[in-house]
């Protein structure tokens, strides 16, 4: 039994050199996750130029392919031809050609905020339905996707999450369900209230650890202070 020969392999092993076989088997073993060329060099213990040569040859034979990974623009990442890249490599549904589709995400965020504001209090399903009814999207978003967007809005501190008690303003939501409410009215400033520390130069100073009275950086000679107190 050939040690490295795989029964399910459609590739004639004979057409590969011994080194190419090692590289190919490693790449194939990673399935849809693929592998970064530098990791390959470490795992196979083959010299760099041998790995590079094998990769080139395997690519030209159509046995492997190079894919873009969302983790880095410059990384050379390889996958066996029969696999489609996993969401760890493509980034999943919110990524477009290896980059986070922030334009689309921000558009969805604005839509969700608008609907929550209109309804005052809403559950994820209520928001998802409202988005669907408004027909602003070419492809509908699932409730789960809207849920992910709302969670991001909570992290932005634009929306707060509460459990309904069925009373007063919660009347439209069944008791016990999680629901969402806008933090600020649309005319209020977008920025959350700035804390005491963040509103003075020291609060945002990257050099605070190096600042001391009489030192090179000191409160009396500080440039940030001078800009702040420039009336």
């Amino acid at each position: 039994m050939g040690k490295r020969k795989r029964p399910d392999s459609k590739v004639p092993a004979l057409s590969m050199t011994e080194q190419e076989k090692i590289v190919y088997n490693l790449i194939q073993s990673k399935q849809d996750l693929g592998i970064w060329s530098r990791d390959m060099k470490r795992e196979t213990s083959l010299p760099n130029n041998v790995v590079d040569k094998s990769l080139k040859s395997l690519c030209s034979k159509g046995l492997i392919k190079e894919v873009v990974t969302v983790w880095s623009k410059s990384r050379k990442h390889f996958l066996a031809s029969e696999f489609e890249p996993s969401s760890e490599i493509t980034g999943g549904k919110w990524y477009d050609q290896g980059t986070l589709d922030t334009e689309f995400i921000n558009f969805l965020k604005d839509q969700c905020l608008k609907h929550i504001r209109n309804m005052k209090i809403a559950t994820v399903d209520m928001v998802a339905n409202a988005v669907r009814r408004s027909r602003v999207l070419k492809n509908d978003c699932s409730s789960q996707e809207i849920g992910e967007i709302i969670r991001a809005l909570i992290l932005d501190n634009d929306v707060i999450e509460m459990r309904s008690n069925g009373l007063g303003e919660f009347a439209s939501v069944p008791t016990g369900r999680m629901c969402y409410k806008c933090r600020r009215s649309p005319d209020a400033t977008k920025e959350p209230r700035v804390g005491a520390m963040a509103s003075i130069p020291c609060g945002v100073c990257p050099q605070i650890a190096n600042c001391a009275p009489g030192g090179v950086i000191s409160p009396t000679t500080c440039e940030y202070y001078s800009m702040w107190l420039d009336f």
Binding site: W71, L155, D156, N157, M197, A198, C202, P219, C222, L229
Partner: protein, 554 residues
């Protein structure tokens, strides 16, 4: 499966080995007291030095850095003369910044035990000096001008007897008028708990080994679980008992009458202390020898309540603020300490009754109140009673302060990441953070490492021996190390603000000394600039001090 596989080995936390900037110098005198942070001490030193000069500051900083010391040891460490040290200590004691106490050192075989007096710097009271204007503002809101004047006198002098207070008020007034007015003002201040009797000048502290079992009987089991610091033990021993703390007896008749009144104030079970009183006649005939001082605790209670209400108003809405304010008003007399975790359970009717008293509350229906109580996250008990988790509100306010720093320093994406980790309160893997916080995977490591480098995040590495990925990075917000770090930076910042105010004023010293009529044209412009600068710096100081209280006192 795409989740994080079970780890085969976990590397030691890297941030764990980083030194905490909050730790102070070595301490003599032992004890478990957490020393104030480096910049906390520098700030305290600055306050003392600007109020009482460098010599007093030197003694004070020595005590803050090294912990309680005897007079002899202070002389040794500061290399000042014995009489200089003594005078400095007297100033610090007069201003309630140092507390003396005596300790017994068990002698060796055949030796008798030996007593010594040690001096403990009271860090909190030093920092409170910068809050005097805030205290005065509270008193002026509630009491009349005479009270405010008497109160300011106490702030200035640290501690005064009634006799001294009357002397101060006498200028330009008849004796009897001044006496009556002062007594009345003092009564009002004591009733409002704005002032209190000074603590025992030198309480005796028994060695901890003997102390522990004795304390168990008197304190609840929960209290015993936490080790007490020397500072806590000294202060507990020095504080007058509750019934005596605010007691006023103006003896105008005979000694016997006075003693009777004194006794009538004492509750059942206070017999032991009452006997002690009898023996030294502290109150009865000699009531005017009682030393009074400002009761800082009362102000901290109020500031904490105010901070809670304001946070809720901003985070939730006006209704929730009204409900919380009413609950705090009812339960304030039952609060034993500033850092109270939960309010006592209060019935809906009691709360509503209090709500109705205020203008904002009159428009509230019972249902609206119920909804607000739910929004506040109140725990509902039997008979529709509610209790509020104050600790949680304070924690939320602390989170917001730190989040705001993260937003300003590192941007919106870092803000989302930080809030995610802060809420999750557990380790999360880089990929998971990127997916939930919607931060591009190409950017996320950079942001995480920046936050980690500046001690905002804690990181752990997991190495997996499987066919797939070999290493994962996990992140979390560790508040036990981050909060002291943030507080230390706040002390640093507040010190910087103070230094800058002093610098701006000194720079324009000549201008400030010019008579008004000579301040024209460009000079007037400069003067106006200085006024704006001073206003901005001083209002920032007050706000930053609120944030310091949030992290240190609440």
């Amino acid at each position: 499966m795409r989740g994080v596989p079970p780890c085969s080995s976990r590397s030691k936390s890297r941030s764990g080995s980083r030194s905490r900037s909050g730790s102070g110098g070595s301490r003599e005198g032992g004890g478990t007291m957490v020393p104030p942070s480096q910049y906390g001490i520098k700030y305290a030193g600055h306050i003392i030095s600007s109020h009482f000069g460098d010599l007093v500051a030197k003694v004070c900083e020595c005590l803050l850095r090294r912990g309680p010391l005897t007079h002899q040891n202070i002389v040794r460490f500061t290399e000042m003369s014995a009489s200089q040290v003594k005078n400095c200590l007297l100033v610090l004691i007069q201003q309630n910044c140092v507390q003396a106490f005596s300790v017994e050192h068990p002698g060796g075989v055949g030796d008798t035990s030996r007593r010594s007096t040690e001096y403990l710097a009271l860090f909190d009271n030093i920092i409170h000096r910068m809050r005097f204007p805030k205290f005065v503002a509270v008193v002026s809101q509630e009491l009349d001008k005479e009270c405010v004047e008497l109160f300011q006198g106490l702030l200035q002098h640290g501690r005064l007897t009634l006799e001294k207070m009357i002397d101060r008020a006498k200028s330009g007034q008849e004796d009897s008028t001044a006496q009556d007015a002062t007594r009345e003002a003092l009564s009002k201040l004591a009733n409002a708990r704005f002032v209190e009797h000074c603590p025992d000048p030198e309480p005796h502290l028994s060695p901890p080994s003997e102390e522990a079992p004795a304390r168990k009987r008197t304190k609840s089991s929960k209290m015993v679980a936490e080790p007490e610091t020397i500072e806590e033990r000294v202060l507990a021993a020095a504080t007058p008992m509750e019934a005596k703390r605010f007691l006023i007896i103006f003896d105008t008749t005979t000694e016997e009458d006075g003693q009777k009144t004194g006794d009538s104030f004492l509750g059942v079970g206070e017999k032991r202390k009452s006997d002690a009183l009898e023996s030294n006649k502290e109150l009865g005939s000699d009531g005017e020898q009682v030393l009074w001082r400002v009761n800082v605790q009362e102000f901290m209670h109020r500031f904490r309540h105010k901070a809670c209400v304001e946070n809720v108003r901003e985070r939730l809405d006006g209704g929730a603020a009204v409900a919380l304010s009413a609950m705090l008003e009812i339960s304030k007399s039952m609060e034993k300490k500033v850092k109270t975790d939960n309010s006592v359970p209060l019935s809906i009717n009691t709360i509503y009754e209090e709500v109705m008293k205020g203008e904002a509350g009159r428009a509230m229906t019972l249902d609206h109140l119920r909804a607000s109580l739910v929004m506040l996250g109140c725990e509902k008990g039997v008979d529709e009673s509610y209790k509020i988790d104050l600790k949680n509100i304070i924690e939320q306010a602390q989170n917001e302060e730190v989040e705001s720093i993260v937003l300003k320093r590192y941007g919106q994406e870092a803000y989302r990441i930080f809030r995610l980790l802060s809420k999750a309160n557990c380790l999360l893997e880089t990929g998971k953070i990127s997916d939930t916080a919607f931060v591009d995977k190409k950017e996320i490591s950079k942001i995480l490492f920046r936050l980690w480098k500046d001690q905002f995040l804690h990181m752990e590495k997991i190495v997996v021996t499987g066919p797939r990925q070999t290493q994962f990075l996990l992140w979390k917000v560790d508040k036990t190390t981050l909060w002291p770090h943030v507080l230390d930076e706040m002390y640093h910042a507040v010190l910087n603000l103070n230094l800058r105010v002093a610098y701006e004023l000194e720079k324009e010293n000549e201008l400030l000394n010019l008579p008004i009529e000579k301040r024209s044209g460009p000079l007037e412009k400069r003067y106006n600039r200085l006024r704006t600068v001073r206003l901005l710096l001083e209002s920032s100081l007050m706000k930053l001090d609120d944030a310091i209280m949030l992290f240190h006192d609440f």
